[in-house]
């Protein structure tokens, strides 16, 4: 016999869960959240780990009670595909910043780049770049950087599982990287450029995996915005189907 005093089961709305989005270039991760939230008039929407504005690929939207998974999804390992451009160093370490040095890089081989990448596999301390969302006393570093300030940053422990140079076209080296959360890919690229003596920056970046979730299962933002509510609910992975171990 049902217990009349039992608390009612929490009702899950059909949009409580997570959604895998392929983020377009040119938007901040927050822009994507804002667009999505506005379009579908949802109250609680967040995301599971920032992608830089120029970066594309897997952005996990957390919807309704799905926002509870924030720590788990942000904390999981990530895989990226990217392009590193040798010979040009920028202040932001990516293509959006000001060029600070230009040097010839035609003599650098793919093998040399791979050797430098292999050295970076494993545990290491990484100092976040000045142009980053890491906060110091509650102020994001990029706001200080805009004012021309540079301050001491605390190095953080990261781990690189895989770092593979896949091919080289002119100064551009395409690569795959699998690493822990909070790893600045552009900082790895800039460090490699420095080690090779030519300088380098991150020219393009695409996230292909976040924990157990894969970009191949994601939908471009423009497609998502075309869906009606019912079709959107079909796309959302409900909380009870989110894999318990995110790798």
């Amino acid at each position: 016999m049902p217990n009349p005093h039992a608390a009612p089961l929490p009702r899950l709305d059909p949009w409580d869960g997570i959604l895998l989005v392929d983020k377009p270039a040119g938007f901040t991760s927050h822009d994507v959240v804002a667009k999505f939230r506005g379009h579908f008039r949802l109250k609680k929407v967040g995301h599971g780990g920032t992608l830089d504005p120029a970066a594309t690929g897997l952005l996990i939207l957390l919807i309704g009670r799905g926002t509870r998974l924030s720590d788990r999804i942000m904390g999981s390992d990530k895989t990226y595909e990217g392009v590193m451009r040798l010979g040009i160093a920028t202040d932001s370490q990516d293509g959006d910043g000001q060029i600070v040095a230009e040097q010839p890089a035609g003599h650098i081989t793919l093998e040399q780049v791979q050797t430098a990448m292999t050295k970076r596999i494993g545990d290491q301390m990484q100092t976040p770049p000045m142009v980053s969302a890491v906060k110091k006393n509650g102020v994001p570093l990029y706001k200080l950087a805009r004012k021309g300030e540079t301050i001491e940053r605390e190095a953080r422990l990261i781990h690189v599982y895989r770092f593979a140079a896949l091919g080289k076209e002119g100064p551009d080296v395409s690569f795959v990287l699998r690493c822990t959360k909070g790893t600045y890919v552009r900082t790895l690229c800039a460090d490699i450029g420095e080690e090779l003596g030519c300088g380098a920056h991150l020219h393009a970046l695409r996230r292909t995996e976040s924990g157990a979730f894969k970009l191949t299962d994601a939908v471009p933002l423009t497609e998502i915005l075309k869906l009606d509510h019912a079709a959107l609910c079909d796309r959302i992975i409900p909380l009870n189907r989110v894999p318990p171990l995110l790798g």
């Binding site: 791979q114 292999t118 599982y161 895989r162 770092f163």
Partner: protein
């Protein structure tokens, strides 16, 4: 020594691991060299030496029609690996799905599931992944991307040729038991459970244990001297490997010299020592047959003494 059947069981391990990878049918002297290099590499890096092997034999999944008769069953292989002083053996189930993994995917999975993996030791001819596309060169490329090291054992030669499981199988199948033993580092052995036969030997005064050894590499039909291990004791044995075995009564029968007892359902392991004669003589009456068996047993006693 630990025996694991899934990669997940190794995922929690914190100490570094160096893994000797191979099918290792027979655990012959060439395999032992690969495993020895693994032990040395592990000692150098304060890591645990492990062996990764596959079951069933990949050819039974990939080309079942032409798969070879094996030198070792899985339990025999595991017993031999136990004597190689490794921390553990990872037995990867070799399924059809597994056989279709691209070599890069297989390795990516491996590195994700065993984060502590620091090195892989293989023989020169090891192939992995879909259509055996993965080879030493590809493994070395992937090693730089994932930051582990690869060590390739130089092949062991015996009599101007490389020691390989297929060469030992050929030696066994053509009756060159001494060659097989030289490459294995021990006599070729088979093991199986005793089943009921026709009880003909018992009537002749030479009771035999019948073993079903389908799938095992066996020498040609004939009479053999063998050392028979049963419950940690060794007996001299006279083996009859018939030209036309009836599988329901076993592929061979063995008379244990100076032994009396019930062996049904128990496991015997035979080391083939030497061939006594072919199975070509035919006997007009039982008395002649008994006389021949007596003389065979006499010779086997001398050989095994």
């Amino acid at each position: 020594m630990l025996i694991l059947r899934s990669l997940e069981e190794l995922s929690g391990i914190r100490t570094p691991v160096v893994m000797a990878v191979g099918v290792f049918d027979g655990v012959h002297l060439g395999h032992q060299r690969v495993i020895g290099l693994c032990r040395e590499a592990a000692a150098r890096e304060q890591a645990q030496p492990w062996v990764m092997t596959f079951d069933p034999h990949p050819l039974y999944v990939v080309q079942p029609a032409t798969a070879p008769l094996l030198l070792t069953s899985l339990p025999a292989k595991l017993d031999l690996l136990t004597r190689q002083n490794v921390a553990g053996v990872m037995v990867v189930p070799f399924t059809e799905t597994f056989s279709r993994l691209e070599p890069e995917t297989f390795l990516d999975d491996l590195m994700r599931r065993i984060p502590a993996l620091r090195g892989i030791v293989i023989g020169e001819n090891w192939r992995f992944g879909r259509q055996a596309r993965g080879n030493v060169a590809l493994l070395k490329t992937l090693a730089t991307q994932y930051g582990f090291h690869v060590q390739v054992a130089t092949p062991l030669t015996w009599g101007d040729q490389t020691v390989s499981s297929s060469r030992i199988r050929e030696a066994v199948a053509s009756g060159r038991l001494d060659d097989a033993a030289a490459m294995l580092g021990r006599p070729h052995a088979v093991r199986g459970q005793v089943i009921h036969g026709l009880k003909r030997g018992r009537r002749l005064g030479f009771p035999t244990a019948n073993l079903d050894l389908r799938g095992c590499a066996l020498p040609p039909p004939g009479i053999y001297a063998a050392r028979v291990r049963h419950a940690s004791r060794t007996h001299a044995g006279a083996v009859y490997l018939p030209m036309h075995p009836e599988p329901q009564h076993g592929t061979l029968e063995v008379h244990l010299i100076d032994f009396n007892g019930d062996l049904y359902g128990q496991e015997l392991e035979l080391d083939f020592a030497a061939k006594i004669r072919d199975d070509t003589l035919r006997f007009p009456n039982e008395a002649d047959l008994i006389e021949q068996i007596r003389s065979d047993v006499r010779r086997i006693r001398e050989i095994l003494a």
